[in-house]
């Protein structure tokens, strides 16, 4: 278990909207250990999505240092960032972002085909419990099932880091719970480092680490010694 697997040091991100400059990340500092299930919470506009974007290589920071698995990604060019995304990051979107024109299996294959070391698409789908729906198109799947495909797509790449952007945001309570359970299982059983963003602080007890953000800053970074299984959490 590597300590400080993910490190943010004084990360700034500014957006210019006309004459106003918004500090979306205003000196963010935190670290996450390998294998941890980290939850970033905060209200809308607290800067958690910015942090996730920077961490996922989707966006770049203006200032500061970000280290993932010993690699500084804060100054990578667009091509290196693409490689970083390709090999190190698994991304789970709030709206699943499946390609509607591809079956579940093909959506997973979309990710695996560009990775050297990857899981078999079927295995990945099996591991998220979609044994029977592999050849279905997204429109033929429920939201939870789509999110499972999305998770399978992220996991199939064998990423170092699994990033989830409000994965339950578009799901109903129970389905959301199931998804969270799946993520927790993946983290605990496979040792996957998971960073999850949510505005729902109710789910923080299930996390190994809870990072609380407000106004582009980390206001607390608490390690939860005794995370609860998701079943025991109600909100």
């Amino acid at each position: 278990m590597q300590k400080d697997f993910v490190v943010f040091e004084n990360v700034y991100k500014r957006y210019k909207m006309g004459e106003i400059t918004i500090n979306a990340a205003n000196g963010v500092n935190f670290s996450i250990n390998e294998g941890e299930f980290a939850v970033v919470v905060g209200l809308s506009g607290a800067g958690k999505t910015t942090v996730l974007n920077i961490l996922g290589g989707i966006d770049s920071c203006d200032e500061g240092r970000i280290v993932v698995g010993g690699k500084d990604i804060s100054h990578l060019g667009s091509k290196d960032l693409a490689s970083y995304r390709r090999y190190d990051i698994g991304f789970v979107f709030q709206f699943y972002n499946l390609i509607p024109n591809l079956t579940a299996k093909e959506n997973v294959e979309l990710a695996t085909q560009i990775c050297k070391d990857h899981m078999d698409a079927s295995d990945a789908l099996n591991s998220v419990g979609l044994h029977d729906r592999k050849n279905n198109f997204p429109s033929q799947l429920s939201g939870g099932e789509q999110q499972r495909v999305s998770i399978a797509r992220a996991l199939a790449k064998k990423p170092k880091l699994l990033l989830c952007d409000e994965p339950t945001g578009a799901l109903d309570y129970n389905t959301g719970k199931n998804i969270l359970k799946l993520l927790q299982t993946k983290c605990k059983e496979d040792g996957m480092t998971v960073v999850l963003i949510t505005h729902n602080s109710a789910i923080t007890p299930m996390a190994d680490r809870v990072i609380n953000m407000r106004s582009g800053k980390v206001i607390s970074n608490i390690v939860n010694e005794n995370p609860l299984p998701i079943e025991k959490i109600e909100w």
Partner: protein, 1162 residues
């Protein structure tokens, strides 16, 4: 501003690329359509205003006998006539650099008392109008294209078809002082002529006073048809003119009658008088001639007699002379013989004398020698004796006596010595007894006495012999004396003897000598005498000869003189004859001229021409029509594609704004308000687009096209006519299409409940495509290929739109290029494959068949022709559609119709099978069949020389330029009952001959039988140059098509990308590199473009047929022909544009932010 209005403008601002692509497409199609559509009316208007402004004549009258003022007056008085302007025209020849060219010389329009306005007013382009004699103005087209302008001088040939040029115009030299255009000539065409090679190279204009012709050659008339209310380019005008022409025809008949009764009658009377006079003169001259001839004959006889007499005399003299000569020869011979004999004799005598002389000389010599010898011996003996004598007595005897004395002395001495010695001895012997000792001295004295004794003996002996010798010598001397005396006597005797002999010989010799001398003298005398005699004879003979020569010379002189006199007489007669003949000939010529004139006057005719007969006049309308036809096809197609693309774009936009529509609806906005947003959006885009396009199109395309045509036309600056109806049509179509589409799509969306509208539209479900069921293929496909194919078939509408749009662009490009291909193939097809003869010679008069046969034999004899054929070619009118429509065309009857394929090919256009021409019917060309609707086996109605016939069509042949009917001579004669007359000769040149085509034409034009020559080659060049002008139009088409292609492809790709922004962002998040992302999208684009371009190929082919069909004319069949290279260009250009668009789109795709993927679905 209301929120909704703001929304509209913000929408436009936010979707600039969409807005502008709609705008651009509408602008392009509207601009193209209105621009091309405006070209044709602009061309026509330019021509029309030219006609009206310059007061172009409506009717042009030409008379074979010219017009006089009465004619002009009569024309002026016609009811239809508005103005009349008489004028002159002549076709003259100029030879420069050995090339003949025909120049049309026209009179400048001038104001006369019969017209209020100038008719055919000329436009001065440069310089000034002529002010002095010897100045002219030249046409603009020639000056412009050949650089033959102001300051150049034109020098006409002195003769023109046997007439003096100065009988037509004042001078031969004219200096160009200005450049003009006249409405009489719209185009570069100058019409044909009967002089030179039949083509007019350019025209010049002179003031009327430069013409010296008595009667006007042309009369220009404006009629009531040129009323400003009547459009001169319509059928209405044509109909009016047609009816007016009939009226003028009536007037013409009337005026011809008047002419025949006055001018012609006068001329005839004059002719009769002249004929009478001529006859009289002829007779007189003939009589005189006969007289002269008789005199000459007598003279000849007399001279012959005299001559024979003279010759006889000469012959006699010659005989005498010859006799004399003979005698002389004999005498000469005899003389020679005598001389010879005498010579011989003389020679003998000489020889004898010489011998005698020799002998004598020899004898004398011998005698002299002997004498001298004997004398010498004698002398010698005498001298020897003398010597011996003197020696003996002088020397020897005394010497001997001295010696003898000496000897005696010596003997005495010795005896003394002996005595002495003996005395001693005695003494001594006495002494001996005294002395017993010295005995020796005694001994010595004894010895000495002995010695002396001995010596005395010796001397005694010698003395005795000397005495002996002396007596011997004395004896010998006495003997010699005796001998000498004897010899002397003998010598004297011999000498006397010899002398006697010599004298005898001398005497003999002298006698011979004198005899010889006498002989010699005799011989010489004889020689001289003979010589003299002979010389005398010779002199006589030469005298005789001289006399003879003299006589001969005299005779010759007399003969020459006689001959000279005769010759002179003959010459005089000949001159007289020639003079008489010339005079008669002149008179006869004059008479014939007068006859011809009267004959031509007899055939006096007026030709009535209208504007359509002006060369190139109707071409303008035809060209305008062609441009209009192109405009009818191309832009419509263009507009269709534009509408299609707008439709796609707008429907896509409405779909994108689904949530917004739902929200607005939920907020309670009326459907109208909601729809109005999209309506306004599309209306603004399309109205602005139409406006921009219309302005750009109208102010560029007509000028480009008109400029192109103005190269061929001699028109003033182009007039722009905005065809409002087509402008409205094109703008309207664009606006309507775009707006209707947006309204319909929007309304379609609005039919749904707001709630469902607010929910994101369920993405179109993924579907298995047909290809997946072909498992082996599908499973082996690359993953991205699978995605690509599934995407292609998922959005069928987009697929269709793209393919149709791209195919349309390809087709448009091919259409433009194919149009050019089709047009440019006409000339080579027509003139290299169908009408393969090179020249047409029009015969002046059809003549008898023998005359024609003779002419044809001349044609055959000209080795520059490889083939020649007699052809009858005449105009006929074909009526069709129940006689409602008529078409004028020519029928061709070749004498050797079975060999017609040497001149023109009758074949099926598609199969190229020969169409047989036989007596079963006529063959018509394909276009005629298309126009009339009459096909093989049907009957064609045609009128030949006002007689209607109906012939069966037995075949249809390929032909492009012009309409023709072909038949056999026997078919013609059988069916019309008329004798066929041939009026043309078709010729084909050899390879050699082709180089001097023009020279050959000029050579033949000099023949009286030939009226005109048409060179197919030059016709071809004319047609080709016309087609060149289409290049610009084709270029315009291709550029517009290319622009459309770019815009369409851009728009479609743009839609494709904006529809899939989320998808693109997602795969970027998944770690796709930029190129991989681009390929993910482009693969589809490329396949769609390729599919579209491929479909565009046959579509283009069809499109070309469509365009070609649209521009077909009654007289010309445009073949549809697209070269492979045009297909290639169409395809390649589309692909190129597509790649270009993809290249631009790559940057847009790169810009798509991955953050898009995190956004919720709208």
């Amino acid at each position: 501003m209301k929120a909704l209005t703001k929304n509209i403008f913000r929408e436009i601002k936010n979707t600039k690329s969409r807005f502008f692509s709609i705008l651009a497409i509408i602008a392009l199609s509207t601009g193209f359509f209105s621009g091309v559509k405006a070209s044709s009316p602009s061309m026509i208007e330019t021509g029309r205003s030219y006609i009206t402004d310059k007061n172009l004549m409506d009717i042009r009258l030409v008379s074979t006998v010219g017009f006089d003022d009465d004619d002009i007056k009569a024309i002026k008085e016609m009811e239809d006539t508005v103005d009349v302007m008489p004028g002159y025209s002549a076709d003259l020849i100029r030879t420069e650099n050995n090339i003949d060219s025909v120049i049309k010389v026209l009179s400048l329009p001038e104001k006369t008392d019969t017209n209020n306005k100038l008719i055919n007013e000329t436009i001065l382009i440069d310089g000034r109008f002529p002010e002095n004699d010897g100045e002219c103005v030249i046409e603009d087209y020639f000056a412009r294209t050949k650089g033959f302008g102001i300051g150049k001088e034109i020098i006409f040939n002195e003769k023109i078809q046997g007439n003096n040029t100065t009988d037509i115009i004042k001078q031969l030299n004219y200096k160009i002082v200005g450049i003009v255009n006249t409405p009489l000539f719209f185009t570069y065409q100058r019409g044909s002529t009967t002089v030179g090679d039949g083509t007019i190279s350019f025209f010049i204009m002179l003031p009327s006073d430069q013409f010296v012709t008595e009667r006007y050659t042309n009369v220009y008339v404006t009629t009531k048809a040129s009323d400003p209310d009547i459009d001169p380019l319509t059928d209405e005008y044509k109909d009016i003119i047609k009816s007016q022409k009939d009226d003028y025809k009536l007037l013409a008949d009337e005026r011809i009658k008047v002419f025949n009764e006055t001018t012609l009658a006068d001329a005839k009377k004059e002719l009769a008088d002249a004929e009478k006079e001529f006859k009289e003169k002829k007779q007189e001259a003939e009589e005189k001639l006969a007289d002269g001839e008789k005199k000459l004959h007598d003279g000849e006889q007399e001279m012959a007699d005299k001559l024979s007499e003279g010759y006889k005399k000469i012959a006699d003299a010659e005989k005498e002379l010859n006799d004399g000569k003979e005698q002389l020869a004999d005498g000469q011979k005899k003389y020679a013989d005598g001389i010879e004999e005498a010579k011989n004799k003389l020679a003998d005598a000489q020889t004898q004398y010489n011998d005698g002389l020799t002998k004598y000389t020899k004898g004398k010599l011998e005698y002299d020698t002997e004498i001298s010898k004997a004398q010498a011996q004698l002398d010698k003996a005498q001298s020897e004796f003398d010597i011996q004598y003197s020696l003996f007595f002088g020397t020897t005897k005394p010497d001997a006596e001295n010696k003898l004395n000496l000897m005696k002395t010596a003997i005495d001495i010795c005896n003394e010595a002996i005595d002495k010695a003996e005395k001693r001895i005695n003494e001594l012997e006495t002494a001996i007894e005294k002395y017993t000792e010295p005995p020796e001295e005694i001994d010595e004295l004894h010895a000495l006495i002995d010695e002396y004794r001995e010596k005395i003996n010796e001397y005694q002996k010698q003395y005795n012999s000397g005495i002996q010798q002396l007596s011997d010598g004395e004896q010998k001397l006495n003997e010699a004396k005796a001998q000498l005396d004897e010899a002397h006597n003998t010598f004297e005797q011999k000498k006397a003897e010899g002398l006697a002999k010599l004298t005898d010989a001398q005497i003999q010799l002298d006698t011979a000598k004198s005899q010889l001398d006498i002989g010699k003298l005799e011989y010489e005398t004889a020689l001289t005498t003979g010589m003299l005699e002979m010389q005398a004879a010779q002199t006589k003979i030469s005298e005789g000869e001289k006399e003879l020569e003299k006589g001969k010379a005299e005779l010759e002189n007399q003969k020459a003189e006689g001959l000279k006199q005769l010759k002179e007489a003959r010459e005089k007669l000949a001159t007289g004859k020639a003079e008489a003949k010339e005079k008669l000939g002149d008179a006869e010529n004059k008479l014939n001229d007068a006859k011809d004139k009267i004959e031509s006057l007899n055939d006096a005719d007026w030709y009535i021409f209208e504007r359509d007969d002006n060369p190139g006049y109707s071409g303008l309308v035809e060209d305008a029509q062609r441009v209009d036809n192109v405009a009818a096809v191309f832009p419509v197609f263009f507009l269709l594609i534009a509408a299609l693309v707008c439709l796609t774009t707008m429907s896509r936009m409405v779909e994108e704004r689904r949530t917004e529509i739902g929200t607005l609806k939920a907020l309670g906005y009326s459907n109208f308000k909601i729809v109005s947003k999209y309506l306004v959006y599309s209306a603004v885009a399309s109205v602005i687009g139409s406006a921009v396009g219309a302005v750009a199109g109208i102010f560029t395309l007509p000028f480009i096209i008109l400029d192109t045509y103005s190269m061929m036309y001699c028109l003033p600056a182009s007039k722009l006519v905005i065809d409002t109806s087509s402008l409205a049509l094109s703008a309207g179509t664009g606006i309507l299409c775009t707006c209707t589409v947006s309204v319909i799509t929007c309304l379609g969306e609005l039919r749904q409940k707001p709630a469902s509208l607010m929910r994101p539209k369920a993405p179109k479900p993924g579907k298995r495509i047909l290809l997946e069921y072909i498992t082996p293929l599908w499973n082996n496909m690359n993953f991205t290929s699978k995605v690509t194919f599934r995407n292609i078939f998922r959005y069928k509408a987009r697929f269709l739109m793209t393919v149709i749009g791209v195919a349309g662009c390809t087709a448009l490009i091919i259409g433009g290029l194919g149009l050019k291909d089709s047009l440019s193939v006409i000339a080579p097809l027509q003139y290299e494959e169908i009408t393969i003869f090179d020249q047409i010679y029009a015969l002046k008069n059809e003549g008898t068949s023998q005359q024609q046969a003779y002419l044809m034999s001349q044609f055959h004899a000209d080795k520059r022709f490889s083939e020649t054929a007699l052809v009858s070619q005449n105009w006929t009118t074909v009526s069709y559609n129940n006689d409602n429509n008529k078409i004028n065309l020519r029928y061709i009857i070749a004498e050797k119709h079975d060999e017609s394929e040497k001149f023109f090919i009758l074949r099926d256009r598609i199969t190229h099978e020969k169409v047989a021409l036989d007596d079963s019917g006529i063959i018509i060309n394909e276009r005629l069949s298309q126009v009339t609707g009459i096909t093989k086996g049907e009957m064609l109605n045609m009128t030949i020389n006002d007689v209607p016939y109906s012939f069966k069509v037995s075949g249809i042949t390929e032909n492009y330029a012009g309409n023709y009917i072909y038949m056999t001579p026997s078919f013609y004669e059988e069916n019309t009952g008329k004798k066929l007359k041939y009026n043309l000769v078709y010729t084909q040149l050899t390879e050699e001959g082709k180089k001097d085509e023009r020279d050959i034409a000029n050579d033949w034009m000099k023949k009286d039988e030939i009226l005109t020559v048409s060179l197919i080659h030059e016709q071809l060049e004319g047609i080709l140059s016309t087609l060149d002008s289409l290049d610009v139009i084709v270029l315009v088409l291709v550029i517009c098509a290319a622009m459309l292609a770019v815009v369409v492809l851009y728009n479609l790709t743009n839609i494709n990308i904006s529809e899939r922004v989320r998808e693109i962002a997602t795969i970027k998040v998944l770690g796709f590199y930029n190129m991989e992302t681009a390929n993910y999208i482009y693969r589809e684009n490329i396949i769609l473009t390729l599919t579209g371009a491929l479909i565009g190929l046959p579509l283009g082919n069809v499109f070309v047929s469509f365009v070609v069909e649209a521009i077909q004319m009654d007289m010309v069949m445009f073949p549809k022909y697209v070269t492979p290279i045009s297909f290639f260009y169409g395809f390649a250009l589309t692909i190129l544009f597509s790649l270009f668009v993809n290249f631009i789109m790559f940057f847009r795709m790169k810009k798509i932010s991955m953050v898009e993927s995190l956004k919720s679905i709208e």
